[in-house]
């Protein structure tokens, strides 16, 4: 063959390049991934799963849940929200006039319309979110002006995107999957994303009912019933077991019978409840709402 060495070299470069890009580079980047630290604390993230939840991961895998469910929350952007919490000594009208005088500042010029619209409806009620911007320096500059005017404000960091806050409060990061083996990211959302399901739907009983009869709680659910993870058995001496599901008529078995979750169902639910993506991390920051205001 003519140019045999050149062909060999070209193939080597092509295969070696993809091996470096797809295998070596990710291994260098994330191969030694460790637990992350939750922001402003010394706690680590995530926690090791309980034995029950670890077994549940295999039930999730065996039943092909990842065919229709994803475990990844995507984030398109990030915004800083400046919320006015206290007026200090000034009256609402004075502060409003002061804020309107800021519109000429070059760093706030782009936000003038935004701010004007917010201020138009603002009658001095607190707390009021005055500014939402994707530029943190602008938000900080605005907060500094508020501080100079004697008012107090809080700047919150909010993750934004189509998945947020519908499926979670922040994006998924590598640390979230530290104890998943195998990692079941999924690629199709026939059902909802489950990356944060443990925080969204923390009721184990709801999860069991939903597995047994999906249409019970979600009328238009496309999920098949996972009845085979439950036992339908005769009540012993007419007494209901503590584990038995509390099913409404239409879903309940015949009189004298009860529906009891098998071990697999309990493990699967333990796994689902262990799926959380609700701690603020350095790599995916957001401001948790620590005090809910009435």
């Amino acid at each position: 063959m003519k140019n045999g060495f050149a062909v060999f070299f070209a193939v080597l470069v092509a295969l070696g390049g993809s091996w470096l890009g797809f295998v070596v580079a990710p291994a260098i980047q994330l191969g030694k991934a460790k637990q992350a630290i939750i922001l402003n604390t010394t706690d680590t993230w995530p926690l090791q799963r309980t034995g029950e939840a670890t077994l549940g991961l295999q039930i999730y895998r065996a039943n092909g849940c990842a065919t229709c469910h994803t475990e990844q929350i995507r984030q398109d952007g990030v915004a800083a929200e400046v919320t006015l919490t206290s007026l200090g000594k000034s009256k609402p009208e004075d502060l409003k006039a002061f804020l309107q005088s800021l519109f000429v500042l070059p760093e706030l010029a782009k936000l003038t319309n935004n701010l004007a619209a917010t201020l138009k409806d603002w009658k001095g009620d607190l707390p009021a979110t005055l500014l939402t911007t994707g530029d943190k320096t602008v938000a900080d500059a605005f907060a500094d002006r508020l501080k100079a005017a004697g008012a107090k404000s809080e700047t919150r960091v909010v993750a934004t995107g189509a998945d947020l806050p519908r499926w979670g409060v922040r994006r998924s990061v590598a640390a979230d999957y530290l104890y998943d083996f195998p990692v079941q990211l999924g690629s199709l959302r026939v059902g909802p994303d489950l990356a944060d399901v443990g925080a969204r739907l923390p009721d184990a009983n709801w999860q069991l009912l939903h597995l047994y009869a999906p249409k019970l709680s979600v009328t238009n659910s496309a999920m098949p019933s996972f009845k085979f993870l439950f036992d339908v058995r005769q009540k012993i001496n007419g007494e209901t077991s503590p584990d038995a599901l509390n099913l409404p008529p239409g879903f309940a078995p015949a009189a004298g019978y009860e529906v009891v979750p098998k071990l697999e169902a309990k493990e699967l639910v333990a796994y689902l409840l262990s799926l959380r993506a609700d701690a603020p991390l350095y790599e995916a920051p957001f401001s948790p709402i620590t005090s809910a205001k009435p």
């Binding site: 580079a25 980047q29 994330l30 991934a33 922001l39 402003n40 984030q75 398109d76 952007g77 990030v78 800083a80 943190k136 320096t137 809080e154 700047t155 919150r156 960091v157 994006r171 990061v173 590598a174 603020p280 350095y282 790599e283 995916a284 920051p285 957001f286 401001s287 620590t290």
Partner: protein, 200 residues
């Protein structure tokens, strides 16, 4: 019309051959330009493959800017900011001071004192004359650098001094500063001996 048969071209049945020739200049220039633009884009958006940088963040600075801080962490950040703008010019960003100009703050008994009264008087009134730090005499002339700072900022910067560079001492609150300011007798710069006449 007759032709010399010997002048006929030889039948061309030789194999065509490819020969080497230089690539056109425009291809080389376009490739290099695209490569350059690609690297500029990479530099701007990749975060240099840092495992901590995920979309939508494109650089470590941007990620750092969006870290939410509140409470004690916010005060520490403010203290550092004020320190670097006001105090760090002479005392150094590492708190080690400058020989012949400003004494060190790291490990200094003035900074680590139990009470903050004497410490707060230094930025509020200034220092003039001799003052010993860790057994070394300094002849100082420091203006009242902290007199114009708001109570909260001065408290934050003193707290920063007392907790940074291995220092371990209690925090200073804005109320402490307010009280010390109200009780201050004069604003004349003091020497070390004069400072020592005051309660800690």
């Amino acid at each position: 019309m007759s032709e010399d048969p010997s002048s006929c071209p030889a039948p061309n049945n030789a194999e065509p051959t490819a020969t080497r020739s230089a690539a056109p200049m425009w291809i080389v220039v376009t490739t290099l330009t695209l490569l350059f633009l690609g690297f500029v884009f990479f530099d701007k958006h990749s975060g240099w493959f840092d495992a901590k940088i995920y979309a939508p963040y494109s650089s470590a600075e941007q990620l750092e800017a969006f870290q939410p801080i509140s409470g004690a962490a916010a005060a520490a950040a403010q203290g550092k900011k004020v320190y670097e703008a006001v105090c760090g010019i002479c005392h150094g960003a590492d708190g080690m001071g400058k020989p012949g100009q400003a004494p060190p703050l790291a490990g200094s008994e003035w900074v680590l004192a139990k009470g903050v009264n004497r410490l707060a008087h230094i930025p509020l009134a200034g220092v003039s004359g001799t003052l010993s730090v860790e057994g070394k005499e300094w002849n100082l002339n420091m203006a009242a650098m902290g007199a114009a700072l708001p109570d909260a900022d001065l408290a934050a910067v003193l707290t920063y001094m007392r907790t940074a560079w291995g220092n371990k001492a209690g925090e200073v609150t804005a109320d402490d500063i307010k009280k010390i300011r109200a009780e201050m007798k004069g604003t004349q710069p003091m020497s070390g001996d004069q400072l020592k006449t005051m309660p800690e």
